[in-house]
């Protein structure tokens, strides 16, 4: 069930009431939350509940074995087996069709047509997220970052907890499992920030992302050949805002809902479009995924320990696979490869510029001091446009559409059709919020911490009412559900 729906509202009221009623009996509380999470997941498609059970069982069993095995070679075998099983499940559901299609195209290109098996594989919602979460649990147990849980219930709840199950954030076992061992708490601050994040997420998703999608981005990417440069440029800006609001909106709601149930999740987005470099962008965008890729892919590949070429190779491979994670299409692979290549070039350029910088301890000159804010502004503008260029390939259905879009940006002879004051205000207003103080949500939540329940209820009720009234009809799915 989608977050901004009546069904979820009723579901959450029940979970909130029963969950807190059971707080003095941790086992029953966890059992109830696992049951609620499986109910939430089964609402999408009950056939895949078994897959969630399988994934959780594999990861719990691997952790249990690692806890008992002392021999390093055996432990390595268990980790390798668990990772292979997890990735096999993900690979089959997500990439089997892509693999067959690509193989078919390759065989046709080589004049070696064959009748390949036709199997339509349904992609289970959230499989990329809970698979990565399971892998992180097993690897963290192996590395000693977290103790293997002896409770099946804890691991099942960690992997299936409904706020983050279908679209993240990818929560680390070291962050979540200790919270399950403690008595659940609800403070004023958690209650207030939960309400603010839920409202913030609903505004981003239901109003900003949905209007931009239906009134600008979908028409622009449907047939970019009929549009001029102005519409295409604003279209890609619009998509940058749409995907940010859609995804960070979901994350906000997930973190807010978890807070109301007494659990703390880390932030998943930190004003990514104020980044002045691609490295900074990836510290702010989808933080749970980028840190996962850093800790379980980039660092095991060698990170930046092997010198220049090895660092660039590792960056490229990490982002290449990160692109592949997003979807079974060559456009996603290109998007990841572009970011990987750009990060490598940026790393190289940074090294050379640092070599030209004045020695440490020397007082910077007037020009140097003046150029720092200018460099930052330039960096923000250049980074945003690099990211937007890559978004074209992320959004386009195929390379032909993407290249039509890119070449169309140069043609400003066609008058604008879609750049209305409403659309411009939505984009400009959303981008302005990238430059507000970082802890704006906490600042907005402070007055609610001591507000009476009636005021809190009115704020929440009127907020949801205004969002529902302002939003377009229907509930569009979250973009990241397809991953």
């Amino acid at each position: 069930m989608l977050f901004p729906t009546f069904e979820f509202g009723v579901f959450f009221l029940v979970v909130f009431a029963v969950g807190w009623e059971l707080r003095r009996d941790p086992s029953w509380r966890k059992l109830f939350l696992v049951g609620a999470s499986y109910f939430f997941y089964g609402w999408w498609d009950w056939r895949f509940v078994g897959l969630l059970v399988l994934s959780s069982t594999i990861n719990f069993s691997a952790g249990w074995l690692l806890d008992r095995l002392g021999r390093p070679s055996m432990r390595k075998t268990v980790v390798a087996l668990a990772v292979i099983l997890n990735l096999s499940i993900l690979g089959f559901f997500k990439y089997y069709g892509f693999f067959l299609d690509s193989l078919r195209v390759l065989l046709e290109t080589l004049n070696l047509e064959r009748d390949l098996p036709f199997v339509q594989v349904i992609l289970p919602v959230g499989i990329s997220f809970f698979t990565f979460q399971g892998i992180s649990y097993v690897v963290d147990v192996y590395r000693g970052h977290v103790r293997a849980s002896h409770s099946v219930l804890d691991v099942f709840l960690y992997i299936s907890f409904f706020p983050q199950l279908v679209a993240g954030p990818i929560v680390r076992a070291a962050d979540f499992l200790p919270q399950l061992d403690e008595t659940p708490r609800l403070t004023r601050a958690m209650g207030a920030i939960g309400v603010v994040l839920i409202l913030s997420g609903l505004i981003k998703k239901m109003v900003i992302a949905n209007y931009l999608a239906s009134e600008l981005v979908d028409p622009a990417f449907f047939d970019p050949s009929v549009l001029g440069g102005a519409d295409l440029l604003i279209g890609v800006y619009g998509y940058a805002v749409q995907i940010y609001c859609d995804f960070s909106g979901y994350s906000d709601i997930a973190i807010g809902v978890a807070a109301l149930l007494g659990y703390k999740f880390s932030e998943n987005f930190n004003q990514p479009y104020r980044a002045s470099s691609l490295q900074d962008f990836w510290r702010r965008w989808h933080i749970s995924l980028s840190t996962w890729l850093r800790d379980y892919l980039y660092i095991p590949l060698g990170g930046n320990r092997g010198g220049g070429f090895a660092t660039y190779r590792n960056l490229f491979l990490t982002m290449f696979l990160g692109g592949l994670w997003h979807g079974a299409a060559w456009t996603f692979v290109f998007w990841g490869a572009f970011h990987g290549a750009a990060l490598g070039i940026e790393s190289f350029a940074r090294q050379k510029l640092n070599a030209l910088a004045p020695p440490a301890g020397e007082e910077p000159g007037y020009i140097t001091r003046l150029s720092r804010p200018l460099n930052r502004v330039l960096g923000v503008i250049v980074t945003f446009h690099l990211v937007c260029f890559a978004w074209i390939f992320f959004r386009a259905e195929n390379f032909t559409l993407a290249s039509t879009y890119v070449t169309g940006l140069a043609d400003w002879s066609v008058p604008s059709l879609y750049v209305t004051p409403f659309i411009a205000a939505l984009i400009a207003g959303s981008l302005c919020f990238q430059f507000t103080p970082p802890k704006l949500a906490e600042w907005l939540a402070r007055p609610l911490e001591y507000a009476p329940s009636a005021v809190l209820g009115l704020v929440l009720g009127l907020g949801i009412f205004l969002i529902w009234a302002a939003a377009p009809a229907g509930v569009a799915p979250f973009i990241y559900f397809q991953f």
Binding site: F16, T183, T187, L456, L460, I464
Partner: protein, 152 residues
């Protein structure tokens, strides 16, 4: 009504599996711990009370929010229940929601959603020419000083 909780140590005591309420009284007894009691830090008691209070506060807030939505958003409720499958229970729910929506309409509460939607639709339909017409007078004068457009 609160209950008495005996203190058998200088620290605070909470009976095992016993519900805590802010009206509970703590009574100091002689120095032995009775069976079924355990000593817990004061901080734990404070956190328990805080959680108990916040859960109640948020629960009331959620109910009030649901009531606000039922009053002001009855139209959406009708839209949602119309999608239910055919059946005696579902038909009853649909009739009740439609009746509720009519009641809210008669009291003028259902109009707020339509007014907000109409405002948003007006903003969506606005063109750049509409925005120029809405500019403050000073800015329009600046436009006039730049010269007449019609040649009159």
């Amino acid at each position: 009504m609160g209950q008495d909780i005996a203190l058998s140590n200088p620290g605070d005591i909470v009976p095992q599996n016993q519900a805590l309420a802010t009206t509970d009284r703590v009574i100091f007894q002689n120095g032995e711990v009775e069976q079924g009691w355990e000593a817990v830090p004061r901080g734990f008691l404070r956190e328990e009370r805080e959680t108990h209070y916040q859960v109640g506060r948020l629960w009331r807030a959620l109910i009030i929010a649901a009531a606000v939505l039922a009053l002001l958003n009855s139209g959406r409720l009708v839209t949602m229940v119309s999608g239910l499958s055919v059946g005696p229970v579902e038909d009853t729910v649909i009739v009740m929601s439609e009746t509720w929506h009519e009641q809210m309409n008669e009291r003028g509460l259902a109009q707020f959603a339509e007014e907000v939607r109409a405002k948003i639709d007006a903003w969506r339909a606005a063109t750049w020419e509409d925005v120029e017409e809405d500019l403050p007078a000073g800015e329009r004068e600046g436009a006039l000083l730049r010269g007449p457009q019609s040649g009159v």
